[in-house]
């Protein structure tokens, strides 16, 4: 796969799904790997519901402009977030969605995963869907090392939730790896 000097990542979902935290963990992991990182977000007034967006740029060089111009990776956990934030996604971009997200793209060009159902049914807590998604995203794209994301997770989630979050991350990581074992990552 191509190795861009800079990864531009946009994560989106419903407010309260923890996409901003997922973005912070990605940035933290990038920082742990001594890369330049910036993380920004946009959100509405609602703490729960609505659509929210987190952006992360991970780069080998200092970063000037702070927001994502063309997303190398775009993640959406809800159809509303997909509709609102799936812009500036170019050919070659990786689109990762929860399996229930409705897209205009052909299903074969996106990478759909049972993210929310894994969190809810397998792990018993829908709230860790963001960390399942993070695991999928990192294993599928190979932008960062497993261990640095795990270390970042430990720095950024409350200690009493670490065990659950670690399982969520591993589960997501495995989902990505299992997919890669049978087919290449889909790009648009």
């Amino acid at each position: 796969m191509k190795e861009p000097k800079q990864w531009q990542i946009r994560l989106s979902g419903s407010g309260g799904q923890g996409l901003i935290l997922a973005g912070i963990i990605l940035a933290e992991a990038g920082n742990l790997e001594n890369k330049y990182v910036v993380q920004t977000q946009s959100y509405g007034p609602e703490a729960r519901g609505g659509a929210s967006r987190a952006e992360v740029i991970i780069s080998d060089a200092p970063i000037d402009y702070l927001e994502v111009e063309t997303a190398d990776i775009f993640l959406a956990l809800t159809s509303e977030a997909y509709a609102k934030y799936c812009y500036n996604v170019a050919p070659g971009s990786i689109v990762i969605i929860d399996e229930n997200v409705k897209t205009k793209l052909q299903r074969t060009r996106v990478n759909a995963f049972p993210i929310i159902s894994t969190a809810r049914d397998t792990l018993g807590r829908e709230i860790v869907a963001n960390i399942v998604a993070l695991g999928v995203l990192v294993s599928l794209s190979e932008i960062l090392h497993h261990d640095s994301v795990k270390a970042a997770l430990k720095k950024r989630v409350p200690p009493h939730t670490m065990e659950l979050n670690a399982r969520a991350f591993e589960k997501g990581w495995a989902l990505g790896k299992e997919r890669l074992a049978v087919k290449e990552v889909e790009k648009i």
Binding site: I24, A27, E28, N31, N34, K35, Y36, V37, V38, Q39, T40, Q41, S42, Y43, G44, P45, I63, D64, Y65, L66, E67
Partner: protein, 384 residues
């Protein structure tokens, strides 16, 4: 603790910088997008023996900060647009009474409630002229998380050095931005504290100073028993409404103590300005967009350069005159309708064209607007 590279938010860097500068007192009121500063300090200040209070409103927070500073405590408040408007009354009091303090305004889109989570740089002139009456002000504006740390320390240093409120003007983008910082290089920064009087209380004239300097400052409770009033006052600190010569001396000194030290206060960064034909002058988050545009423009053969001003006020007139000399054009990208560009226009030679590039849709200034200008395609470009 600061020797590692850390991921840090702008507002967090502000709180950390304040602590590094010796912060002892914070009073504030919750408001987006500055609340993180209060939240962090509510947790950290008491650990260090400092005091945190959430006041009943923005006006009270500003008042409490001034009160605390009179007892010798380095004091801070943080707010955003609507709160900054409310603070103007007591900000003027701090100017008049020469009480050091730092006011952070994490700018959001206004006027009024505007857009609490939307970015903007619309308070540049409010920082300059928000409170009534003739006065000078110091306002600093960082363009990165690391700069936020550094400029917060400098804000305290200037506040203490010049006995004046200093405004730290962030924008929502920088306040909420997280990026890698390396703070150990600031460990040896000089931390300035207000000079105390050397004479005995019976000889102390609390407002006696050279024409362009602040007076030494006594602390309440240490025996100096002086009077502090927002009324015009003479060297004794008491009202002098009928003494026009004393009024004149006071008001000129309050301004001169800052303007005469423009060189000392002016902070900036520059890239590729020397041979630039087109000089971009930017501050805050839009300076990052400008930096990006300069690189792209250079690749396309356009000789662009960037002067990033960190000290917005006092207006760095000498610096702007010097750096714009001989340039074909000066472009000022701002998330307002040209507030700073118009200030720049006042001092730039008529031979140099000054162009304001504006974006006020609540989103971060986009570098493409600058590139579009070079192609003659930018609709929000206005030649001043």
């Amino acid at each position: 603790m600061t020797s590692e590279r850390r991921l840090m938010q702008g507002n967090e860097a502000c709180a950390e910088g304040a602590l590094k500068a010796g912060l002892q007192f914070f009073a504030g009121y919750p408001i987006t997008p500055s609340t993180e500063i209060a939240e962090i300090l509510a947790k950290k200040l008491p650990k260090l023996g400092g005091k945190f209070i959430q006041m009943e409103d923005e006006i009270a927070s500003m008042a409490a900060v001034i009160g605390a500073s009179l007892t010798g405590a380095k004091s801070l408040t943080a707010t955003s647009g609507p709160g900054f408007s409310l603070k103007q009354e007591n900000l003027g009091f701090a100017i008049m009474t020469e009480v050091p303090c730092v006011i952070v305004n994490v700018q959001r889109l206004g006027p009024s409630t505007g857009g609490p989570t939307l970015t903007a740089q619309g308070d540049v002139l409010q920082a300059r002229w928000g409170t009534h009456g003739e006065h000078a002000i110091i306002a600093l504006c960082p363009a990165s998380v690391e700069e936020t740390y550094y400029l917060t320390i400098m804000a305290f240093n200037y506040a203490e050095r010049f006995r004046t409120p200093v405004i730290l003007l962030l924008d929502e983008t920088i306040g909420h931005l997280r990026e890698s910082v390396q703070l150990d290089k600031y460990d040896k920064m000089k931390i300035f504290s207000r000079p105390r009087p050397w004479e005995t209380p019976d000889k102390y004239l609390p407002y006696a100073a050279e024409d362009d300097e602040p007076p030494p400052m006594a602390v309440f409770g240490e025996g100096y028993r002086y009077h502090v009033t927002g009324l015009v006052h003479d060297e004794t600190g008491f009202p002098c409404t009928g003494n026009h010569a004393a009024i004149d001396r006071l008001l000129r000194r309050l301004t001169n103590k800052i303007l005469a030290h423009e060189d000392e206060i002016t902070l900036y960064k520059e890239t590729m300005t020397e041979d630039a034909e087109h000089l971009l002058i930017a501050f805050g988050a839009s300076a990052r967009s400008a930096a990006s545009a300069v690189k792209i423009a250079r690749r396309e053969g356009i000789r662009a350069g960037l002067l990033q001003v960190q000290t917005l006020w006092p207006f760095p007139e000498k610096l702007i005159r010097q750096k714009t000399l001989g340039k074909r054009s000066v472009l000022v990208p701002e998330m307002n309708l040209g507030q700073y560009a118009r200030e720049i226009k006042k001092v730039v030679s008529d031979k140099t064209m000054v162009v304001t590039l504006s974006q006020i849709d609540g989103r971060l200034f986009h570098p493409n607007k600058i590139l579009a200008y070079f192609k003659g395609e930018e609709k929000h470009a206005e030649v001043l």
